[in-house]
């Protein structure tokens, strides 16, 4: 039986002390233990930002690509080798800002991967500018008179786009988050877990204390399969913020729709002697 140290890498962690990312890393490692998969069969993909450093701290395969472009690389790796468990760790700037178009279209593709978005409502690595989810009014060195743009609502957007697994976790509750990750990875298709996370260096509003006052876990008996109810639940924010699986539905994956689930993984195809005689003859 694997334990948490089995999923720890030797790389030195470069986050600020007290960062919410630690809780997410902890939850991720707990989840990997419970998923009972060998590190070699897991691929972590990320873009750029503090969250995107996460794969370096996990003992699993890692592709740390470009800012905003984790999703295209991740889904293609999964298509190339469907036996890999593919998990993307990204920040809300990386995923909802720079990579917004890929977020939109990969929900539509529904490749069986898990997307964990570290959502601290601020840009950390570039030192405190507004992110797509920063609330209106927050003053930064760029938004000197306060943010004026409407915040992006990832859960509402994901439900509207037809994402089959939409959840919200909290970095300081790593036990609960670990269970969401286990469930998300187990879900057949594209899974989104938006994780609320304090930024101790740059976000002085959405602090540990602030979250403690606002968050609550979805009540027993909540039915995540009711899309309209889920959409309503996803809208809750200003007073109380729900944590848990907000929406869940089974739908055919890219692998099933394209038929690759019934064929050998692309990566196992031998290419040394591909016969194209017939294809060539079709041009005679």
């Amino acid at each position: 039986m694997a334990t948490i140290p089995d999923f720890k890498s030797h790389d030195e962690i470069a986050w600020c002390p007290g960062c919410g990312d630690f809780g997410i890393l902890n939850a991720l490692q707990k989840a990997l233990v419970r998923l009972n998969k060998a590190p070699k069969d897991i691929l972590m993909v990320s873009g750029i930002g503090q969250a995107a450093k996460t794969p370096h701290y996990v003992k699993a395969n890692c592709f740390n690509g470009l800012h905003g472009r984790a999703l295209p690389a991740a889904i293609a790796a999964k298509i190339a080798n469907r036996n890999l468990t593919v998990i993307v760790t990204t920040g809300e700037g990386d995923c909802y800002g720079e990579g917004g178009n890929h977020f939109l279209h990969n929900i539509r593709r529904n490749v069986d991967i898990t997307l964990i978005v570290h959502d601290n409502q601020i840009y950390g690595l570039t030192k405190g500018q507004a992110s797509p989810t920063t609330e209106v009014g927050l003053k930064t060195k760029v938004q000197t008179e306060g943010v004026i743009n409407i915040p992006f609502h990832p859960l509402e957007a994901a439900i509207a786009l037809g994402c089959g697994f939409v959840a919200r976790g909290y970095s300081a509750d790593s036990e609960h988050l670990a269970s969401l990750i286990v469930e998300g990875v187990g879900h057949k298709g594209f899974s989104l877990i938006d994780v609320l996370q304090p930024c101790v260096s740059f976000n002085k509003v959405n602090t540990y204390q602030w979250y403690a006052k606002h968050i609550y876990k979805l009540e027993e008996g909540y039915n995540p399969s009711d899309k309209m109810a889920a959409y309503k639940k996803a809208q809750e924010w200003s007073e109380r913020i729900p944590l848990g699986v907000i929406y869940k539905t089974e739908q055919p994956t890219f692998e099933e729709k394209s038929g690759i689930d019934k064929k050998i993984p692309l990566v196992d195809e031998l290419i040394e002697h591909i016969d194209i005689q017939e294809e060539m003859e079709s041009f005679v």
Binding site: D11, A77, N101
Partner: protein
């Protein structure tokens, strides 16, 4: 009997000129003649003016003529647009009744194509098949050959439609038989050898399939799209995933992700899409992930001429992506080269773990030519990753292990027992982020110097013809091969020679310097306005050309244009 003829079918977009043009190619090819055909189309689905020009000869053809001996006008505006492109003894076929024309121009041949289409086929839409019959009859091709080609052209349609097309073609064919008694446009029959009829994009697609592409991601962009559609056409049988990306940024990042996971991956686009891909190109360089990228050039800047041709992305592809890393750029000159160099591109990309580019353009992409079948038995495909078998013995694997050659063995995730890390940040041998100056230096040398050094040892040799005694040596790359070849041969007394580069990076410095050693006068021939090849030549060899013949009107060079330009140089 004619040694060669050029035939132009013109009308508005949607009238099926391309279908009939390709059917004509098939007809003449099947009758032992050589063909070269080029569609000229606007960026619209209906209306405007499009044409396809088919050149036919008993000798192999490599380029287009400027004028046509037979022009078929399928709509009235075509007559005015194309009259200037008719040869002095040529014929313009038109439907005077339909177009309400009373002019008795000597070159006009009035054929009631529309009424025949409507009466025989029941619909004016069959007019293109009528034109097909007319041209076949005029050039002396047996009708049973016409029927055979129409059957194969429309083989996806139901029998009644095929029959109507044939009947309408027959009506056009017989009309001309009854009207024209001379054999002015007859072609001398050739020997029936087996040829393929293919365009450049189809050749790239077939090459990719043969090379083992398993993942092709792209956003549709003219003139690259038919690579994607051709791969898609054959994808099911070969277990290839063709994924239409949300944008070109996704397309290249997908290809890189698939390649990282161990499959051969490719993307294709045109200049605008390629500009979006450039950060991904840099990612492939940094993460040392093999990827093959096609830039099928069209006139720019910005949206430019979406459906036309240019060679102005040479500098873009040479320098695409921030930072310094090794790359290879192939610029195939022929359809066969497009096939073989695509296969080589996959091999080199995987062997050196770099981005490899195929720089083509609308002219090569869309032009059809009859070519000998590819030598499939002579192709060896070899993988350069750590095989599944070898993976069992891998221990303490480091993705970016520093080696003498600069190449670190590429493992496939999950095949080896170890995990490994790949990163777009500067990284250690283990693939973790570092800011160490020493590691940085070693990694740059690995990715850039060492790989470039090795790549310089296997450059595609330039093609050279008649450069010893020539007064003028022309230099070109990519799609101008055909026109350089025919024009240099056509100019009297062998005064023109040419060198063609099918690889522009690493630049074949030594070979080119050697070939140009005794050249009296050097000209580059380029489909751009800046003389980008001339600049690259000077940068890499110090050789300054005596001039450049540049064409940047969005149209390809044709034989007559280049002969005229070259004649002024001697």
């Amino acid at each position: 009997m004619n040694r060669e003829l050029s035939i132009r079918i013109t009308g508005e977009a949607g009238q099926g000129m391309q279908t009939i043009g390709i059917a004509l190619c098939q007809l003449y090819k099947d009758n032992g003649l050589h063909v070269f055909a080029c569609p000229d189309y606007m960026s619209r689905i209906r209306g405007g003016n499009n044409f396809i020009q088919v050149r036919v000869s008993d000798q192999p053809l490599h380029t287009l003529r400027q004028k046509a001996d037979i022009i078929v006008a399928l709509d009235k505006p075509s007559i005015n647009i194309h009259t200037k492109n008719l040869t002095p003894s040529g014929v313009m076929i038109l439907d005077k009744t339909k177009f309400a024309i009373v002019d008795n121009n000597q070159s006009f041949l009035d054929v009631p194509m529309y009424s025949m289409a409507a009466q025989v086929g029941g619909n004016e839409l069959f007019v293109n098949s009528c034109a097909f019959g007319v041209v076949a009859s005029l050039t002396g091709i047996d009708f049973k050959e016409v029927e055979k080609v129409l059957r194969s052209t429309f083989d996806k349609k139901e029998e009644s439609i095929i029959t109507k097309n044939i009947d309408v073609a027959r009506a056009g064919y017989d009309f001309v038989l009854g009207k024209i008694k001379d054999k002015k446009f007859f072609l001398s029959p050739g020997s029936r050898e087996k040829y393929l009829l293919m365009n450049g994009n189809e050749a790239i697609a077939l090459g990719a399939i043969k090379a083992g592409v398993k993942f092709y991601s792209a956003y549709p962009m003219t003139p690259s799209t038919s690579i994607m559609t051709t791969v898609a056409h054959f994808a099911l049988k070969h277990n290839i995933i063709v994924e239409q990306a949300e944008d070109e940024i996704a397309a290249i990042n997908m290809a890189i992700g698939a390649s990282f996971a161990g499959v051969r991956a490719m993307t294709g686009t045109s200049g605008g899409g390629f500009a979006l891909m450039t950060e991904g190109v840099s990612l492939a360089g940094m993460t040392e992930t093999p990827v093959v990228v096609v830039d099928s050039q069209r006139p720019a800047p910005a949206t430019g001429f979406p459906t036309r041709t240019e060679q102005a992305d040479l500098n873009l592809v040479l320098y695409a992506g921030h930072g310094e890393f090794a790359r290879v750029i192939y610029a195939p000159g022929t359809i066969a080269e497009a096939f073989y160099l695509t296969i080589k591109a996959f091999d080199v990309a995987e062997k050196y773990q770099i981005p490899v580019f195929i720089l083509t353009d609308q002219h090569l992409a869309d032009c059809y030519r009859n070519i000998p079948a590819f030598d499939l038995n002579g192709i060896e495909i070899k993988r350069h990753i750590i095989s599944k078998e070898e993976s069992k013995n891998v221990r303490d694997y480091k993705r970016y292990q520093l080696t003498e050659s600069g190449i670190s063995p590429q493992a496939v995730p999950s095949w080896i027992e170890d995990v490994f890390y790949a990163d777009s940040d500067e990284h250690t041998e283990e693939g973790h982020i570092t800011e160490d100056a020493g590691v940085r230096t070693a990694m740059v040398e690995k990715r850039f110097h060492k790989k470039m050094e090795a790549l310089k040892k296997q450059i595609e040799k330039p093609t050279a013809e008649n450069i010893e005694k020539a007064e003028v040596v022309c230099l070109g790359f990519g799609s101008t091969y055909g026109v350089l070849k025919e024009a240099s041969r056509a100019v009297k007394n062998k005064k023109i020679g040419f060198i063609h580069l099918s690889q522009v990076w690493p630049f074949p410095e030594k070979e080119i310097a050697g070939l140009l050693k005794n050249a009296k006068k050097i000209l580059t021939v380029e489909n751009n306005a800046g003389g980008q090849l001339a600049a690259l030549l000077r940068q890499q060899t110090g050789i300054k050309v005596d001039g450049s013949i540049l064409k940047f009107d969005g149209r390809p060079f044709d034989l007559d244009f280049l002969i005229e330009k070259l004649s002024k140089e001697i």
